[in-house]
Protein backbone atom coordinates (compact mmCIF):
# COMPACT_ATOMS: atom_id res chain seq x y z
CA UNK A 1 0.00 0.00 0.00
CA UNK A 2 1.35 3.42 -0.92
CA UNK A 3 0.62 6.51 1.15
CA UNK A 4 1.76 10.02 0.50
CA UNK A 5 2.15 12.81 3.03
CA UNK A 6 3.89 16.13 3.07
CA UNK A 7 4.73 18.84 5.54
CA UNK A 8 6.71 22.05 5.55
CA UNK A 9 9.39 23.15 7.96
CA UNK A 10 10.38 26.80 8.33
CA UNK A 11 14.08 26.11 7.92
CA UNK A 12 16.41 26.11 4.91
CA UNK A 13 16.72 22.92 2.92
CA UNK A 14 20.32 22.19 3.89
CA UNK A 15 19.56 22.36 7.60
CA UNK A 16 16.43 20.30 7.26
CA UNK A 17 18.33 17.77 5.21
CA UNK A 18 21.02 17.43 7.83
CA UNK A 19 18.51 17.00 10.63
CA UNK A 20 16.44 14.46 8.79
CA UNK A 21 19.49 12.30 8.21
CA UNK A 22 20.19 12.25 11.91
CA UNK A 23 17.71 9.59 12.76
CA UNK A 24 18.27 9.95 16.49
CA UNK A 25 17.27 13.59 16.35
CA UNK A 26 14.31 12.76 14.19
CA UNK A 27 13.15 10.16 16.65
CA UNK A 28 13.16 12.74 19.41
CA UNK A 29 10.47 14.61 17.54
CA UNK A 30 8.22 11.60 17.83
CA UNK A 31 6.39 11.39 21.13
CA UNK A 32 6.54 7.85 22.41
CA UNK A 33 9.54 6.88 20.34
CA UNK A 34 12.86 5.69 21.64
CA UNK A 35 15.78 4.94 19.41
CA UNK A 36 19.38 3.84 19.75
CA UNK A 37 22.12 2.90 17.30
CA UNK A 38 22.13 -0.74 16.22
CA UNK A 39 25.07 -3.02 15.52
CA UNK A 40 25.57 -1.81 11.96
CA UNK A 41 26.30 1.64 10.64
CA UNK A 42 23.06 3.30 9.56
CA UNK A 43 20.82 0.82 11.35
CA UNK A 44 18.89 1.80 14.45
CA UNK A 45 16.84 -0.08 16.97
CA UNK A 46 13.74 1.57 18.20
CA UNK A 47 10.60 1.23 20.23
CA UNK A 48 7.38 3.12 20.00
CA UNK A 49 4.37 3.19 22.25
CA UNK A 50 1.06 4.42 20.88
CA UNK A 51 -2.15 4.81 22.84
CA UNK A 52 -5.64 5.05 21.41
CA UNK A 53 -8.55 4.72 23.79
CA UNK A 54 -8.14 1.51 25.75
CA UNK A 55 -5.52 0.23 23.35
CA UNK A 56 -1.82 0.62 23.81
CA UNK A 57 0.47 -0.82 21.21
CA UNK A 58 4.16 -1.34 21.78
CA UNK A 59 6.29 -1.75 18.71
CA UNK A 60 9.91 -2.85 18.56
CA UNK A 61 11.89 -2.75 15.40
CA UNK A 62 14.72 -1.45 13.32
CA UNK A 63 15.08 1.49 11.00
CA UNK A 64 17.71 1.66 8.28
CA UNK A 65 18.73 4.68 6.30
CA UNK A 66 19.23 3.87 2.62
CA UNK A 67 19.53 5.40 -0.86
CA UNK A 68 20.77 8.70 0.49
CA UNK A 69 21.33 11.13 -2.37
CA UNK A 70 22.38 14.61 -1.39
CA UNK A 71 22.22 15.97 -4.94
CA UNK A 72 18.50 15.35 -5.22
CA UNK A 73 17.80 15.64 -1.49
CA UNK A 74 16.22 12.24 -1.31
CA UNK A 75 16.64 9.56 1.31
CA UNK A 76 14.74 6.48 2.31
CA UNK A 77 14.14 4.86 5.63
CA UNK A 78 13.34 1.17 5.75
CA UNK A 79 11.49 0.04 8.83
CA UNK A 80 10.76 -3.40 10.20
CA UNK A 81 8.61 -3.50 13.30
CA UNK A 82 6.92 -6.09 15.41
CA UNK A 83 4.39 -5.84 18.19
CA UNK A 84 6.00 -6.42 21.59
CA UNK A 85 2.89 -8.19 22.86
CA UNK A 86 1.31 -9.77 19.84
CA UNK A 87 1.91 -11.08 16.37
CA UNK A 88 1.45 -7.98 14.24
CA UNK A 89 4.28 -6.90 12.01
CA UNK A 90 4.77 -3.96 9.74
CA UNK A 91 7.37 -3.18 7.14
CA UNK A 92 7.64 0.17 5.48
CA UNK A 93 9.93 1.99 3.11
CA UNK A 94 9.52 5.72 3.43
CA UNK A 95 11.05 7.72 0.63
CA UNK A 96 11.59 11.35 1.52
CA UNK A 97 12.05 14.10 -1.00
CA UNK A 98 12.98 17.62 0.10
CA UNK A 99 12.41 20.76 -1.89
CA UNK A 100 12.88 24.45 -1.17
CA UNK A 101 9.70 26.40 -0.79
CA UNK A 102 9.56 30.08 0.11
CA UNK A 103 12.70 29.90 2.20
CA UNK A 104 11.39 26.88 4.03
CA UNK A 105 11.51 23.23 3.14
CA UNK A 106 8.76 21.02 1.94
CA UNK A 107 9.16 17.36 2.75
CA UNK A 108 7.22 14.83 0.74
CA UNK A 109 7.16 11.34 2.18
CA UNK A 110 5.95 8.45 0.09
CA UNK A 111 5.46 5.32 2.12
CA UNK A 112 5.25 1.81 0.79
CA UNK A 113 3.69 -0.12 3.60
CA UNK A 114 3.33 -3.85 4.05
CA UNK A 115 1.36 -5.10 6.97
CA UNK A 116 1.03 -8.72 7.95
CA UNK A 117 -1.34 -10.38 10.34
CA UNK A 118 -4.91 -9.45 10.97
CA UNK A 119 -4.33 -5.87 9.91
CA UNK A 120 -3.50 -6.88 6.37
CA UNK A 121 -7.03 -6.64 5.02
CA UNK A 122 -7.72 -3.09 5.98
CA UNK A 123 -8.05 -0.17 3.68
CA UNK A 124 -6.20 3.06 3.80
CA UNK A 125 -8.87 5.44 5.02
CA UNK A 126 -8.21 5.72 8.73
CA UNK A 127 -4.49 5.29 8.19
CA UNK A 128 -4.35 8.31 5.94
CA UNK A 129 -6.49 10.28 8.36
CA UNK A 130 -4.22 9.86 11.25
CA UNK A 131 -0.99 9.85 9.30
CA UNK A 132 -1.88 13.29 7.97
CA UNK A 133 -2.96 14.54 11.34
CA UNK A 134 0.20 13.35 13.00
CA UNK A 135 2.52 14.69 10.35
CA UNK A 136 1.75 18.21 11.52
CA UNK A 137 2.78 17.44 15.08
CA UNK A 138 5.99 15.88 13.90
CA UNK A 139 6.76 18.82 11.61
CA UNK A 140 6.21 21.24 14.47
CA UNK A 141 8.56 19.40 16.76
CA UNK A 142 11.07 18.92 14.00
CA UNK A 143 11.01 22.60 13.25
CA UNK A 144 11.77 23.54 16.82
CA UNK A 145 14.43 20.84 16.91
CA UNK A 146 16.11 22.34 13.84
CA UNK A 147 15.80 25.88 15.10
CA UNK A 148 17.30 24.99 18.45
CA UNK A 149 20.18 23.29 16.68
CA UNK A 150 19.53 20.21 18.71
CA UNK A 151 20.15 22.04 21.97
CA UNK A 152 16.63 21.54 23.21
CA UNK A 153 16.91 17.82 23.23
CA UNK A 154 20.63 17.23 23.24
CA UNK A 155 20.59 16.12 26.84
CA UNK A 156 17.93 13.57 26.20
CA UNK A 157 19.83 11.23 23.94
CA UNK A 158 18.03 8.02 24.65
CA UNK A 159 20.22 5.20 25.79
CA UNK A 160 19.13 1.83 26.95
CA UNK A 161 16.75 1.78 29.82
CA UNK A 162 17.31 5.03 31.63
CA UNK A 163 16.30 7.67 29.12
CA UNK A 164 13.00 9.36 28.64
CA UNK A 165 12.41 10.50 25.11
CA UNK A 166 11.88 14.16 25.74
CA UNK A 167 9.90 15.86 23.02
CA UNK A 168 10.96 19.32 21.95
CA UNK A 169 7.86 20.79 23.51
CA UNK A 170 6.00 18.37 25.66
CA UNK A 171 2.30 19.06 25.97
CA UNK A 172 1.52 20.17 29.49
CA UNK A 173 -0.59 17.17 30.29
CA UNK A 174 2.14 14.77 29.31
CA UNK A 175 4.42 16.09 31.99
CA UNK A 176 2.65 14.19 34.68
CA UNK A 177 4.72 13.06 37.55
CA UNK A 178 3.45 9.57 37.65
CA UNK A 179 6.51 7.94 39.06
CA UNK A 180 7.26 6.28 35.78
CA UNK A 181 10.09 8.47 34.67
CA UNK A 182 12.04 5.46 33.54
CA UNK A 183 9.57 4.66 30.79
CA UNK A 184 9.21 6.57 27.56
CA UNK A 185 6.01 8.54 27.35
CA UNK A 186 3.32 7.01 25.22
CA UNK A 187 2.27 8.78 22.10
CA UNK A 188 -1.17 9.75 23.19
CA UNK A 189 -3.17 10.37 20.07
CA UNK A 190 -5.60 12.39 22.07
CA UNK A 191 -2.97 14.87 23.12
CA UNK A 192 -1.36 14.98 19.76
CA UNK A 193 -4.52 15.37 17.78
CA UNK A 194 -5.99 17.90 20.15
CA UNK A 195 -3.17 20.19 19.21
CA UNK A 196 -3.57 19.77 15.46
CA UNK A 197 -1.04 17.73 13.69
CA UNK A 198 0.87 14.93 11.83
CA UNK A 199 3.98 12.59 10.97
CA UNK A 200 5.20 9.63 9.68
CA UNK A 201 8.55 10.61 8.39
CA UNK A 202 10.46 8.54 10.81
CA UNK A 203 9.22 5.15 10.02
CA UNK A 204 8.86 3.87 13.54
CA UNK A 205 5.92 6.08 14.03
CA UNK A 206 4.51 5.48 10.64
CA UNK A 207 4.43 1.78 10.99
CA UNK A 208 3.18 1.84 14.53
CA UNK A 209 0.42 4.27 13.78
CA UNK A 210 -0.70 2.69 10.62
CA UNK A 211 -0.93 -0.66 12.22
CA UNK A 212 -2.64 0.75 15.24
CA UNK A 213 -5.14 2.46 13.08
CA UNK A 214 -5.74 -0.73 11.24
CA UNK A 215 -6.69 -2.21 14.57
CA UNK A 216 -9.25 0.47 15.06
CA UNK A 217 -10.69 -0.34 11.70
CA UNK A 218 -10.99 -3.90 12.79
CA UNK A 219 -13.21 -2.81 15.60
CA UNK A 220 -15.16 -0.31 13.62
CA UNK A 221 -16.36 -2.67 10.96
CA UNK A 222 -18.83 -4.50 13.06
CA UNK A 223 -21.16 -3.48 15.75
CA UNK A 224 -19.74 -6.13 18.02
CA UNK A 225 -16.16 -7.17 17.66
CA UNK A 226 -17.25 -10.69 18.53
CA UNK A 227 -17.97 -11.28 14.91
CA UNK A 228 -14.63 -10.04 13.79
CA UNK A 229 -12.99 -13.43 13.86
CA UNK A 230 -14.99 -14.26 10.77
CA UNK A 231 -13.26 -11.33 9.21
CA UNK A 232 -9.84 -12.32 10.35
CA UNK A 233 -9.80 -15.52 8.41
CA UNK A 234 -10.70 -13.96 5.12
Amino acid sequence: MKLENSFTVAAPISETWETLLDIERVAKCLPGAQIEPGEEEGVYRGAMKVRLGPMTVDYRGTARLQDVDEDTYTASIAVQAREAKGQGTAAAVIRNQLESQNGGTRVVAVTDLKITGRQAQFGRGIMEDVASTMMGEFAKRLESEINSGGAATASATPATGDATATPAEPPADEVRDDGRADEPEALDLGNVLARTPMIRYAGMAGAALLVLLALVMLLRGRKRPFTVNVNLRR
Partner: protein, 296 residues
Protein backbone atom coordinates in the same frame (compact mmCIF):
# COMPACT_ATOMS: atom_id res chain seq x y z
CA UNK B 1 -9.87 -15.70 23.09
CA UNK B 2 -8.86 -14.90 26.62
CA UNK B 3 -7.81 -11.52 27.92
CA UNK B 4 -4.24 -10.88 28.96
CA UNK B 5 -3.48 -10.95 32.67
CA UNK B 6 -4.72 -8.00 34.71
CA UNK B 7 -5.41 -7.12 38.35
CA UNK B 8 -9.15 -6.91 39.00
CA UNK B 9 -10.61 -4.34 41.39
CA UNK B 10 -14.27 -4.13 42.38
CA UNK B 11 -14.75 -1.00 44.45
CA UNK B 12 -18.08 -0.64 46.29
CA UNK B 13 -18.16 3.14 46.32
CA UNK B 14 -17.25 6.10 44.17
CA UNK B 15 -14.48 7.30 46.50
CA UNK B 16 -12.87 3.88 46.48
CA UNK B 17 -13.03 3.80 42.68
CA UNK B 18 -11.48 7.25 42.41
CA UNK B 19 -8.66 6.28 44.78
CA UNK B 20 -7.95 3.23 42.59
CA UNK B 21 -7.99 5.40 39.50
CA UNK B 22 -5.60 7.88 41.08
CA UNK B 23 -3.25 5.00 41.75
CA UNK B 24 -3.63 2.97 38.55
CA UNK B 25 -5.26 5.35 36.02
CA UNK B 26 -2.34 5.40 33.62
CA UNK B 27 -2.01 1.65 33.39
CA UNK B 28 -5.60 0.82 34.23
CA UNK B 29 -9.01 0.97 32.67
CA UNK B 30 -12.50 1.41 33.99
CA UNK B 31 -14.93 -1.41 33.23
CA UNK B 32 -18.55 -0.30 32.78
CA UNK B 33 -20.88 -2.53 30.75
CA UNK B 34 -17.95 -4.17 29.03
CA UNK B 35 -19.61 -4.35 25.61
CA UNK B 36 -16.62 -2.75 23.91
CA UNK B 37 -13.82 -3.17 26.42
CA UNK B 38 -14.24 -6.89 27.00
CA UNK B 39 -13.99 -7.79 23.30
CA UNK B 40 -10.97 -5.51 23.10
CA UNK B 41 -9.44 -7.40 25.99
CA UNK B 42 -10.29 -10.78 24.54
CA UNK B 43 -8.75 -9.85 21.23
CA UNK B 44 -5.79 -8.65 23.21
CA UNK B 45 -5.95 -5.28 21.59
CA UNK B 46 -6.17 -3.73 25.04
CA UNK B 47 -3.94 -4.96 27.82
CA UNK B 48 -4.40 -2.77 30.88
CA UNK B 49 -2.58 -3.90 34.02
CA UNK B 50 -5.56 -3.01 36.19
CA UNK B 51 -9.28 -3.27 35.56
CA UNK B 52 -11.54 -1.23 37.82
CA UNK B 53 -15.05 -2.67 37.69
CA UNK B 54 -17.79 -0.12 38.46
CA UNK B 55 -20.66 -2.60 38.34
CA UNK B 56 -20.93 -2.95 42.11
CA UNK B 57 -21.31 0.77 42.71
CA UNK B 58 -25.08 1.22 42.97
CA UNK B 59 -24.72 4.97 43.47
CA UNK B 60 -23.51 5.32 39.89
CA UNK B 61 -26.82 4.30 38.28
CA UNK B 62 -30.08 6.18 37.99
CA UNK B 63 -32.09 8.68 35.96
CA UNK B 64 -33.71 11.80 37.36
CA UNK B 65 -34.76 15.29 36.44
CA UNK B 66 -33.45 18.15 38.53
CA UNK B 67 -33.60 21.88 37.72
CA UNK B 68 -35.23 20.94 34.43
CA UNK B 69 -32.18 18.97 33.38
CA UNK B 70 -32.11 15.27 32.72
CA UNK B 71 -29.38 13.69 34.82
CA UNK B 72 -28.24 10.24 33.81
CA UNK B 73 -25.74 8.53 36.07
CA UNK B 74 -22.91 6.93 34.15
CA UNK B 75 -23.64 3.27 34.95
CA UNK B 76 -27.29 3.49 33.91
CA UNK B 77 -27.93 0.67 31.44
CA UNK B 78 -28.90 1.71 27.95
CA UNK B 79 -32.05 -0.43 28.18
CA UNK B 80 -33.09 1.41 31.36
CA UNK B 81 -32.73 4.74 29.60
CA UNK B 82 -34.65 3.41 26.60
CA UNK B 83 -37.54 2.32 28.82
CA UNK B 84 -37.72 5.57 30.80
CA UNK B 85 -41.08 7.36 30.41
CA UNK B 86 -39.51 10.59 31.64
CA UNK B 87 -36.99 10.44 28.83
CA UNK B 88 -39.49 9.39 26.14
CA UNK B 89 -41.78 12.28 27.01
CA UNK B 90 -39.21 15.02 27.29
CA UNK B 91 -36.14 13.90 25.37
CA UNK B 92 -37.59 11.51 22.77
CA UNK B 93 -34.51 11.87 20.56
CA UNK B 94 -32.61 9.77 23.11
CA UNK B 95 -35.28 7.06 23.13
CA UNK B 96 -35.39 6.92 19.33
CA UNK B 97 -31.64 6.71 18.97
CA UNK B 98 -31.34 3.92 21.54
CA UNK B 99 -33.38 1.67 19.30
CA UNK B 100 -30.44 1.74 16.89
CA UNK B 101 -27.83 0.85 19.50
CA UNK B 102 -26.71 -2.70 18.77
CA UNK B 103 -29.24 -5.27 20.07
CA UNK B 104 -31.48 -5.52 23.12
CA UNK B 105 -29.13 -7.91 24.92
CA UNK B 106 -26.24 -5.55 24.47
CA UNK B 107 -28.30 -2.61 25.71
CA UNK B 108 -29.11 -4.61 28.83
CA UNK B 109 -25.45 -4.59 29.74
CA UNK B 110 -24.10 -1.58 27.91
CA UNK B 111 -24.08 1.63 29.93
CA UNK B 112 -24.80 5.18 28.91
CA UNK B 113 -21.57 6.53 30.38
CA UNK B 114 -19.57 3.70 28.85
CA UNK B 115 -20.76 4.51 25.36
CA UNK B 116 -19.97 8.20 25.79
CA UNK B 117 -16.53 7.60 27.30
CA UNK B 118 -15.65 5.06 24.61
CA UNK B 119 -16.19 7.86 22.07
CA UNK B 120 -16.73 5.92 18.90
CA UNK B 121 -17.84 8.43 16.23
CA UNK B 122 -20.21 5.85 14.77
CA UNK B 123 -21.94 5.28 18.12
CA UNK B 124 -25.40 6.78 18.59
CA UNK B 125 -25.31 8.23 22.10
CA UNK B 126 -22.31 10.53 21.64
CA UNK B 127 -23.98 12.16 18.62
CA UNK B 128 -27.31 12.47 20.38
CA UNK B 129 -25.75 14.12 23.42
CA UNK B 130 -23.81 16.46 21.16
CA UNK B 131 -27.03 17.54 19.44
CA UNK B 132 -28.75 17.99 22.81
CA UNK B 133 -25.89 20.21 24.08
CA UNK B 134 -25.39 17.85 26.98
CA UNK B 135 -22.41 17.98 29.28
CA UNK B 136 -20.69 15.34 31.35
CA UNK B 137 -19.58 15.48 34.94
CA UNK B 138 -16.25 13.78 35.63
CA UNK B 139 -14.67 13.12 39.00
CA UNK B 140 -11.25 12.30 40.32
CA UNK B 141 -9.52 12.56 43.68
CA UNK B 142 -8.58 16.06 42.52
CA UNK B 143 -12.24 17.07 42.43
CA UNK B 144 -15.09 17.31 39.94
CA UNK B 145 -15.48 19.20 36.71
CA UNK B 146 -18.03 19.51 33.95
CA UNK B 147 -17.13 19.12 30.30
CA UNK B 148 -19.46 20.35 27.54
CA UNK B 149 -20.03 17.74 24.85
CA UNK B 150 -18.44 20.15 22.37
CA UNK B 151 -15.18 19.93 24.35
CA UNK B 152 -15.34 16.24 25.14
CA UNK B 153 -14.49 14.34 21.99
CA UNK B 154 -10.97 14.50 20.61
CA UNK B 155 -10.69 11.78 18.00
CA UNK B 156 -11.46 8.10 17.51
CA UNK B 157 -11.96 6.55 20.96
CA UNK B 158 -10.38 9.52 22.69
CA UNK B 159 -11.92 12.12 25.01
CA UNK B 160 -10.60 14.92 27.19
CA UNK B 161 -11.30 12.80 30.28
CA UNK B 162 -7.94 12.27 32.01
CA UNK B 163 -6.69 8.79 32.92
CA UNK B 164 -7.38 9.37 36.63
CA UNK B 165 -10.86 10.74 35.98
CA UNK B 166 -14.16 8.93 35.68
CA UNK B 167 -17.38 9.99 34.01
CA UNK B 168 -20.07 10.06 36.71
CA UNK B 169 -23.09 11.77 35.18
CA UNK B 170 -24.49 13.16 31.95
CA UNK B 171 -26.59 16.32 32.11
CA UNK B 172 -29.02 17.09 29.33
CA UNK B 173 -30.69 20.51 29.21
CA UNK B 174 -34.43 20.73 28.53
CA UNK B 175 -35.71 20.78 24.96
CA UNK B 176 -37.82 23.83 24.00
CA UNK B 177 -41.55 23.38 23.41
CA UNK B 178 -42.40 23.04 19.72
CA UNK B 179 -39.28 21.03 18.98
CA UNK B 180 -39.38 18.07 16.63
CA UNK B 181 -36.70 15.41 16.71
CA UNK B 182 -35.42 12.68 14.43
CA UNK B 183 -32.63 10.13 14.37
CA UNK B 184 -31.69 8.20 11.25
CA UNK B 185 -28.83 5.93 10.39
CA UNK B 186 -27.90 3.36 7.80
CA UNK B 187 -26.11 0.12 8.53
CA UNK B 188 -25.79 -2.91 6.29
CA UNK B 189 -27.18 -5.16 8.98
CA UNK B 190 -29.34 -4.24 11.93
CA UNK B 191 -27.15 -3.65 14.95
CA UNK B 192 -23.94 -2.96 13.06
CA UNK B 193 -22.14 0.30 13.51
CA UNK B 194 -23.73 2.73 11.09
CA UNK B 195 -21.98 3.71 7.89
CA UNK B 196 -23.56 7.09 8.34
CA UNK B 197 -26.35 8.77 10.22
CA UNK B 198 -27.78 12.02 11.54
CA UNK B 199 -29.74 13.45 14.43
CA UNK B 200 -31.82 16.60 14.22
CA UNK B 201 -33.78 18.84 16.55
CA UNK B 202 -35.88 21.57 14.94
CA UNK B 203 -37.90 24.13 16.90
CA UNK B 204 -40.67 25.92 14.98
CA UNK B 205 -42.93 28.76 16.09
CA UNK B 206 -46.70 29.02 15.58
CA UNK B 207 -46.23 30.29 12.03
CA UNK B 208 -44.18 27.24 11.18
CA UNK B 209 -40.93 29.20 10.99
CA UNK B 210 -37.81 27.50 12.29
CA UNK B 211 -36.44 29.24 15.39
CA UNK B 212 -33.65 26.86 16.27
CA UNK B 213 -32.05 23.84 14.66
CA UNK B 214 -29.43 21.37 15.78
CA UNK B 215 -28.02 18.82 13.36
CA UNK B 216 -25.47 16.19 14.33
CA UNK B 217 -23.68 13.74 12.07
CA UNK B 218 -22.76 10.16 12.82
CA UNK B 219 -19.64 8.47 11.42
CA UNK B 220 -18.83 11.61 9.46
CA UNK B 221 -15.52 12.47 11.15
CA UNK B 222 -13.20 11.08 13.84
CA UNK B 223 -15.63 12.51 16.45
CA UNK B 224 -19.35 13.19 16.57
CA UNK B 225 -19.89 16.52 14.82
CA UNK B 226 -22.50 19.26 14.59
CA UNK B 227 -23.24 21.12 11.37
CA UNK B 228 -23.44 24.75 12.52
CA UNK B 229 -23.66 26.30 9.04
CA UNK B 230 -26.50 24.02 8.08
CA UNK B 231 -28.25 24.85 11.35
CA UNK B 232 -27.97 28.57 10.58
CA UNK B 233 -29.44 28.03 7.12
CA UNK B 234 -32.53 26.46 8.64
CA UNK B 235 -33.25 29.20 11.16
CA UNK B 236 -35.85 31.70 9.90
CA UNK B 237 -37.06 29.35 7.17
CA UNK B 238 -40.32 27.56 6.68
CA UNK B 239 -38.50 24.32 6.10
CA UNK B 240 -39.67 22.24 3.14
CA UNK B 241 -37.96 19.38 1.32
CA UNK B 242 -35.85 21.75 -0.74
CA UNK B 243 -34.64 23.75 2.26
CA UNK B 244 -33.82 20.53 4.08
CA UNK B 245 -31.89 19.29 1.05
CA UNK B 246 -29.89 22.52 0.85
CA UNK B 247 -29.03 22.37 4.53
CA UNK B 248 -28.05 18.72 4.28
CA UNK B 249 -25.77 19.52 1.38
CA UNK B 250 -24.16 22.27 3.42
CA UNK B 251 -23.85 19.95 6.42
CA UNK B 252 -21.59 17.55 4.56
CA UNK B 253 -19.69 20.19 2.58
CA UNK B 254 -16.80 20.30 5.03
CA UNK B 255 -16.76 16.76 6.34
CA UNK B 256 -14.23 14.18 5.32
CA UNK B 257 -15.54 10.82 6.42
CA UNK B 258 -13.08 8.00 6.77
CA UNK B 259 -13.39 5.43 4.05
CA UNK B 260 -12.80 1.74 4.71
CA UNK B 261 -13.71 -1.68 3.37
CA UNK B 262 -17.33 -1.07 4.32
CA UNK B 263 -17.74 2.09 2.31
CA UNK B 264 -15.58 4.67 0.57
CA UNK B 265 -15.30 8.22 1.86
CA UNK B 266 -17.36 9.50 -1.11
CA UNK B 267 -20.09 6.97 -0.49
CA UNK B 268 -20.22 7.84 3.18
CA UNK B 269 -20.42 11.53 2.45
CA UNK B 270 -23.39 10.99 0.13
CA UNK B 271 -24.96 8.72 2.69
CA UNK B 272 -24.58 11.19 5.55
CA UNK B 273 -26.14 13.89 3.35
CA UNK B 274 -29.19 11.72 2.70
CA UNK B 275 -29.44 10.84 6.39
CA UNK B 276 -29.20 14.51 7.37
CA UNK B 277 -31.92 15.51 4.90
CA UNK B 278 -34.26 12.80 6.14
CA UNK B 279 -33.58 13.68 9.77
CA UNK B 280 -34.33 17.37 9.17
CA UNK B 281 -37.53 16.64 7.24
CA UNK B 282 -38.75 14.21 9.88
CA UNK B 283 -37.93 16.59 12.72
CA UNK B 284 -39.81 19.45 11.02
CA UNK B 285 -42.82 17.24 10.46
CA UNK B 286 -42.91 16.25 14.11
CA UNK B 287 -42.47 19.84 15.24
CA UNK B 288 -45.40 20.85 13.01
CA UNK B 289 -47.60 18.10 14.36
CA UNK B 290 -46.74 18.96 17.91
CA UNK B 291 -45.62 15.38 18.25
CA UNK B 292 -42.17 16.24 19.43
CA UNK B 293 -40.97 17.11 22.86
CA UNK B 294 -43.35 19.33 24.77
CA UNK B 295 -40.53 20.77 26.70
CA UNK B 296 -39.28 20.13 30.13
Amino acid sequence: MKPPRFAYHDPRGVDEALALLAEHGDEGKVLAGGQSLVPLLNFRLAHPDHLIDLNRIGALAGIRRADGKLRIKAMTRQSTLEASALVRENWPLITDALGFVAHAQIRNRGTVGGSVAHADPAAELPVVFTVLDASVRVASTRGERTIASSDLFVTHLTTTIEPDEMLVEIEVPPVAPGTGHAFTEFARRHGDFALGGAAALVTVDEEGVCRRAAVGLLAAAPTPVRAPEAEQMLVGERIDEAAAARAAKRAVADIQPTGDIHGSAEYRKDLVEVMARRAIVAAVERAGNGAGARGG
